[in-house]
Structures are given as structure tokens and as C-alpha cells.
């Protein structure tokens, strides 16, 4: 495990007390990177996966969302996701794909309202993968759940099965697609946890945006790495999985709900 331990432990040490420390660290790191590119640190939170090397079960990528820092009028995570993945509002908003959305949760008994982003929860036991007839819905060894658009037949059974409403059906011929996120008319799509960025050793776009211009509510990392920030916080703080009762063991955890 130690051989695969990513370089995030430095960042984790700096950000263990909250988002401000993390942002300060990233800012300083960015400056160092600009001034001394040869050092090549910081912008990459963890090691990139080299080409030709398959995803490894030694990692379990996950997210932690601190809902107490997620504000009602902030949508930077959603905007960043749309931009990164080439999503845009279709002619009919009802048919528009949403990889991530902001949810308002109101407790009718206490009157307490809070806000949180919901995306594919990248479950350990994903219902979408279990029901997919062709295996187009699949889980990488490192826990990222994806759709293989080459063999998705567009049956939408995964959309019926997902408890998180994390999948969208591509109902339009898409334009301006990103090479790393090919979108297919008649295929199902959803959050990829920005696998293309993760493979480069970077945070998903939503997490980067949240920590850059949002409330600093999101943390991404390796749940199997005990030194990662996410692992430490999951180990020491009260975190929750949405619909944990269903037993799918989501890789996205929440604080404050």
C-alpha cells in the first residue's frame, strides 16, 4: 500500500483543519509551481496513472461533502462540471443531462434547511451495474462507476435502478463534445468523477471549483489511503451516506445531514 500512497499526504496535513488552509496551501503551491516548474508538485494532488496501467483496487476514490459549508446560492460545482464535461442546457430543460445537481433538503419538523450537491455516488455495490444487461455500466477497480458508451443500448434500466437519480439519458445529438467525455445520442450518461482528471492526478472539476471559488465543502481522495485527508476525516468525523439503508455503500459521503 505504501508504494501506491499518493502525494496527497502533504496536502492533507495542511488542510486537516478546514478549507482556508487548503486554499492557502493550493495558492502557495501554485505560486511555487509557476516560479519553479521543475519542482512539479502541488497542482497534482496525487500520482497520475500512467498510460497502459489499469485502474487499481488499491485505491478507492471517494468524496466528502461538508454540507455546513455548502451555500444555497452557490452553484460553482455544477457550473464547473458542465464546463468540464461539455454539458449545456438543451432545448427542453426536462431533457437536459445533469451529472451533478444542488439539492435543497428541508426538514418539515424542525424547519432546518440545508443544501448539498448530489452526483453519482460511485457505490461499492452499484445497482446500475448490477442491472445493466450488457455490462455497459461498470465499476473500475478503483471504485469509479462509468458507462461504456460503445455497448450501452439505451435501455435506461440503470436509470430505473439508481436510487440517487444520478443518470441522464442523452436525448439529443450533442455538439462540442469533449474527447474524454464522448456523449452518445440514445446512451445513458452520468458523473464520471472526472476520471480523466483523476487519472492525471487531479481533483474532479466540481471539487476544484468548490475549493477555489465555492464554500470549500468538497474533499476528494483515496478512501483506502489512511493518510489522505478524506480518510482521516471519515475516520474521525460523523459522516453519512445517502440511503445507506440500501446497502450500496456509496463512495460519496456527507457531513451535516
Amino acid at each position: 500500500m505504501s508504494d501506491d500512497r499518493n502525494t496527497r499526504e502533504t496536502a492533507g496535513d495542511q488542510t486537516g483543519t478546514g478549507g482556508i488552509g487548503r486554499r492557502a496551501f493550493l495558492g502557495a503551491a501554485g505560486a511555487v509551481a509557476v516560479l519553479a516548474p521543475g519542482l512539479g508538485l502541488a497542482a497534482h494532488a496525487f500520482e497520475a496513472r500512467p498510460d497502459g496501467v489499469p485502474a487499481s483496487s488499491k485505491h478507492r476514490w471517494g468524496m466528502l461533502v461538508d454540507t455546513t459549508k455548502c451555500k444555497s446560492n452557490c452553484h460553482v460545482c455544477v457550473d464547473a462540471c458542465n464546463k468540464e464535461n461539455g454539458l449545456y442546457e438543451e432545448a427542453d430543460p426536462k431533457d437536459t443531462a445533469q451529472y451533478i445537481r444542488k439539492l435543497t433538503v428541508h426538514d418539515p419538523d424542525t424547519g432546518y434547511t440545508h443544501y448539498l450537491p448530489v452526483m453519482c455516488q460511485h457505490c461499492t455495490h452499484p445497482a446500475c451495474v448490477a442491472v445493466c444487461p450488457t455490462g455497459a455500466s461498470f465499476k473500475r477497480a478503483d471504485g469509479i462507476v462509468l458507462v461504456d458508451r460503445h455497448i450501452c443500448i439505451g435501455c435506461r434500466y440503470c436509470m430505473m435502478a439508481c436510487p440517487y437519480k444520478a443518470r441522464s439519458f442523452d436525448e439529443y445529438t450533442e455538439k462540442n463534445q469533449k474527447w474524454y467525455n464522448p456523449r452518445g445520442l440514445g446512451c445513458v450518461e452520468g458523473c464520471t468523477m472526472c476520471a480523466h482528471l483523476v487519472d492525471e492526478g487531479k481533483d474532479p472539476a466540481c471539487v476544484t471549483a468548490c475549493n477555489k471559488t465555492g464554500g470549500g465543502a468538497m474533499v476528494f481522495g483515496d478512501l483506502k489511503d489512511p493518510t489522505s485527508e478524506i480518510s482521516k476525516r471519515v475516520a474521525t468525523e460523523q459522516t453519512t451516506q445517502i440511503r445507506a439503508d440500501l446497502g450500496m455503500d456509496p463512495g460519496v459521503r456527507y457531513e451535516g445531514i
Binding site: 438543451e90 432545448a91 427542453d92 430543460p93 426536462k94 431533457d95 437536459t96 443531462a97 445533469q98 445537481r101 444542488k102 439539492l103 435543497t104 433538503v105 428541508h106 426538514d107 418539515p108 448530489v118 445497482a127 451495474v129 448490477a130 442491472v131 445493466c132 444487461p133 450488457t134 455490462g135 455497459a136 455497448i151 450501452c152 443500448i153 439505451g154 435501455c155 435506461r156 434500466y157 436509470m159 430505473m160 435502478a161 439508481c162 436510487p163 440517487y164 437519480k165 443518470r167 441522464s168 439519458f169 442523452d170 436525448e171 439529443y172 445529438t173 452518445g184 445520442l185 440514445g186 446512451c187 445513458v188 445517502i242 440511503r243 440500501l246 445531514i257
Partner: protein, 409 residues
């Protein structure tokens, strides 16, 4: 038992041409609707990211469920040894295969990528009930095909009983698989339940027999072949019995869910304040589709053709409503990400989802029905599927003659 004489349907008559051309036109319109949906994308349909399965699935599920039920008539004759049903075995098998073909065509043409059917045939995810169903559906064609062979080829008579038993078991497993498509959806409160499998089996009994009756009445009325009143009465009583079984499982389905506090909201939605779904459930599915026809059948000492046609039609309408409430109504209720909390989002979380079927979707579904009727007519024109007479025709032909006359009028 006397020898049963089977005859092909008379072809090339004006009525035959009118029927076949009419069915071909409906099929062509349905195909055009499917092509339109495929090339434009599903945004031209009423389906959304909330209601992901629409009216084509209602048609498809209805036909697939009815397919296995249509085979019951043959099974009652062969597996359970009721001689009165044996002459109808061939029609029963033919209708079963045709209904399955119609349902699957609609299902496939509603895929986002119908051109990738070959992918569905070559890539199997063993944990998917959908993938299991691909085997079950394909196997159904083979098994019922063999069953028909043993019925039509007397040199294969020794295989008749084993083939009949295999077909009966296969149809039970097939409908279990279809029901489990919904039963295995643990995320959706309207579905996730083991009762979906037996419920679908009971539904298949009703749908299949009702469609069988309507086909039988149409063919025998149209061609003037005699049918014993006893056969008519027997079919009606059997249909009423199946309706009671369906109703029983519907009660179990909802009572079980109501007992589960987290499912109260969705049950309240379907049963009390779900608008169109509540109306369809009580008004069409329960009253028109079960209570009324059962009352009509049981209060009648001798059910005639007219009443059998009426109750079978009601069963079809009620059954369609039942599938609509299950498929669409179940999706209209939003997913419960935070049970007990009020949620909202730009993705319609926490809201009742609306659905209005579009013309191409409806055309596709009707095209599937037309395909079923086309196949039944075409095959029974080419091969002897329908008995020349049903029941004690000699003794009862006069009465039947009158009935045929009335039907013709």
C-alpha cells in the same frame, strides 16, 4: 375424444386483404414513429429523465406478460389434461409467440440504440435480470416452437407431454423474470417487492386469456365456424377466476406496502391522490377490469359470445391500465433520497413527475399490436391452426349458427 379437424383461414378474400393491409399500414406508422424517435432522440417523446420508460414500455410489458398467459390455454389442455382445451393448443402457442414477438419489437425499437440489438445478444451481464430475460424470451420462442411441432406433427407425439410441461414451466419462469424487472428495483418504493413476480403471473393469466378469447371470437365469428356454448361459458368462468387471482395479488401488493411506513407516501399517491393514476387504478383496473366483468360473469348462468367479448375487452382495458399504473405511476412518484424530508432541485427532485405520451410512442405501441395480429393471421392462413369446430359442434351447431349470425350483424 373424436379427431379434431384443423383448417387454414381462408385467404385472399376482401376481408382478409382489408385486414392485412390495415395491419401493415399500422405497422408502417409504428415503424416510422420508432425511426423518428431514434434519429431525433427521445426528446420528441413524452419521456424525460424522470419518466424514463413511457407508453412503449406499457405496450411491451402488456404484450410480453400476455404472451405467457396466452399459452395457458394450451397448458390447461396438455399439462392438466382438460380435453376441452386441447383443440385450442395450437392457437394458444401461436398467439403466445406472436404476442412475445410484438412486445419485444416495441421494447427493442424504444431502446436509445435499437441498432445495437446485436450488442444485447452478445454482451451478457449475468447479474442483470434484463440479461436473464434475453435468454428467457429467446428460449420461449424455441420451447413453444417445439411444443407446437409436437402438436402438429403426429410422428412427434411422444414428445408432446414433455414439451408441454417444459413450455408451462418456461412460461412461469419467464413471467417471474418480467415481474422481477420491477421487483428487483430496490430504489423505488412502488416496485421493490417479491410479490411483483406472482402478481405478473396472475396478470398474465388474465391478459393472455382475454386476448385469446377476443382472437377466437373474431376468427370464429368472421369465418362462421361453430363454437360450442360450453366452450364460451368455460372461457368466461376461467377468466373470472384469473381476475380474482390478479385482484388478490394486487391487494397483497398494496397491503404489504401500506404496512411499511416509508411506503405510505407512494401508496397514498397511487391509491388516493395520484390523479390520473388513482383514477386508472380504481376506475379502470379494479372496477372495469375486474369487479364489473366478474359480476357479469358470475351472475350469468350461460355466458354467450357477446358477453365473453365484452368481459374480455374489459379485461384487456383494465390490464392495460394496470400496467400503465405500475410502469408510469411508479416512476411518477419521485425517488426518496431523504425519506421524511422535503427535497427540491433543478432535476425535479421531490416533485411528482408528469408524463404525456407522444404520437410516435403511441404509434410504436399500436404497431406492436398490429404485428401480433398480422403474425397470427398470416401463420394461421398458411398452416392449419384453428379447429374447424369447437366443442360439441354437432349437437349445438344450430345455436352457434344463430350466434354467428348475430355476430356477423
Amino acid at each position: 375424444m373424436k379427431k379434431i379437424e384443423y383448417r387454414e383461414l381462408p385467404a385472399w378474400t376482401p376481408g382478409w386483404w382489408a385486414l392485412m393491409i390495415g395491419l401493415l399500414v399500422v405497422m408502417a406508422i409504428g415503424l416510422a414513429g420508432a425511426l423518428y424517435m431514434e434519429t431525433e432522440g427521445h426528446h420528441v417523446t413524452g419521456m424525460t429523465n424522470q419518466i424514463v420508460w413511457g407508453i412503449p414500455h406499457v405496450f411491451a410489458v402488456f404484450m410480453i406478460v400476455a404472451a405467457s398467459g396466452a399459452l395457458n390455454v394450451a397448458s390447461i389442455g396438455s399439462v392438466f389434461g382438460r380435453d376441452a382445451y386441447k383443440p385450442l393448443g395450437r392457437v394458444s402457442g401461436l398467439l403466445a409467440i406472436s404476442l412475445l414477438a410484438g412486445g419485444l419489437c416495441v421494447l427493442v425499437l424504444d431502446l436509445g440504440k435499437p441498432d445495437r440489438l446485436i450488442v444485447a445478444m452478445t454482451h451478457f451481464n449475468i447479474t442483470s435480470i434484463f440479461a436473464w430475460n434475453v435468454y428467457l424470451y429467446t428460449g420461449f420462442f424455441v420451447v413453444v416452437g417445439l411444443y407446437l411441432w409436437t402438436m402438429m406433427d403426429w410422428t412427434k407425439k411422444r414428445f408432446y407431454k414433455p414439451a408441454a410441461t417444459l413450455a408451462f414451466l418456461w412460461r412461469l419462469i419467464l413471467t417471474t423474470g418480467t415481474g422481477s424487472i420491477f421487483g428487483f428495483l430496490v430504489a423505488r418504493d412502488a416496485y421493490s417487492s417479491a410479490v411483483m413476480a406472482p402478481l405478473f403471473i396472475s396478470m398474465s393469466f388474465v391478459f393472455g386469456l382475454a386476448i385469446f378469447n377476443l382472437i377466437l371470437l373474431a376468427v370464429y365469428g368472421g369465418s362462421g365456424r361453430p363454437v360450442s356454448p360450453d366452450v364460451i361459458h368455460r372461457k368466461a368462468r376461467l377468466l373470472a377466476l384469473f381476475m380474482a387471482a390478479d385482484l388478490y395479488f394486487v391487494v397483497v401488493q398494496h397491503i404489504t406496502a401500506i404496512y411499511w411506513p416509508s411506503r405510505d407516501p407512494v401508496e397514498r399517491f397511487i391509491l388516493l391522490d395520484g390523479g390520473i393514476y388513482t383514477w386508472l387504478f380504481w376506475g379502470v383496473q379494479v372496477f372495469l377490469g375486474a369487479v364489473l366483468p366478474m359480476a357479469l360473469i358470475y351472475r350469468c348462468k350461460q355466458v354467450g359470445r357477446g358477453l365473453l367479448r365484452l368481459v374480455s375487452s374489459l379485461a384487456v382495458v383494465g390490464g392495460f391500465a394496470q400496467v400503465y399504473v405500475i410502469v408510469i405511476g411508479g416512476q411518477a412518484w419521485p425517488l426518496e433520497l431523504f425519506p421524511g424530508q422535503q427535497i427540491s432541485s433543478s432535476f425535479a427532485d421531490g416533485r411528482i413527475h408528469s408524463y404525456v405520451p407522444s404520437a410516435p410512442e403511441i404509434a410504436l405501441g399500436l404497431g406492436g399490436i398490429a404485428l401480433v395480429l398480422f403474425l397470427v393471421t398470416l401463420v394461421s392462413t398458411a398452416l392449419p391452426f384453428f379447429p374447424q369446430a369447437l366443442g360439441n359442434a354437432e349437437a349445438e351447431t344450430p345455436a352457434v349458427g344463430e350466434a354467428v349470425g348475430q355476430a356477423a350483424e
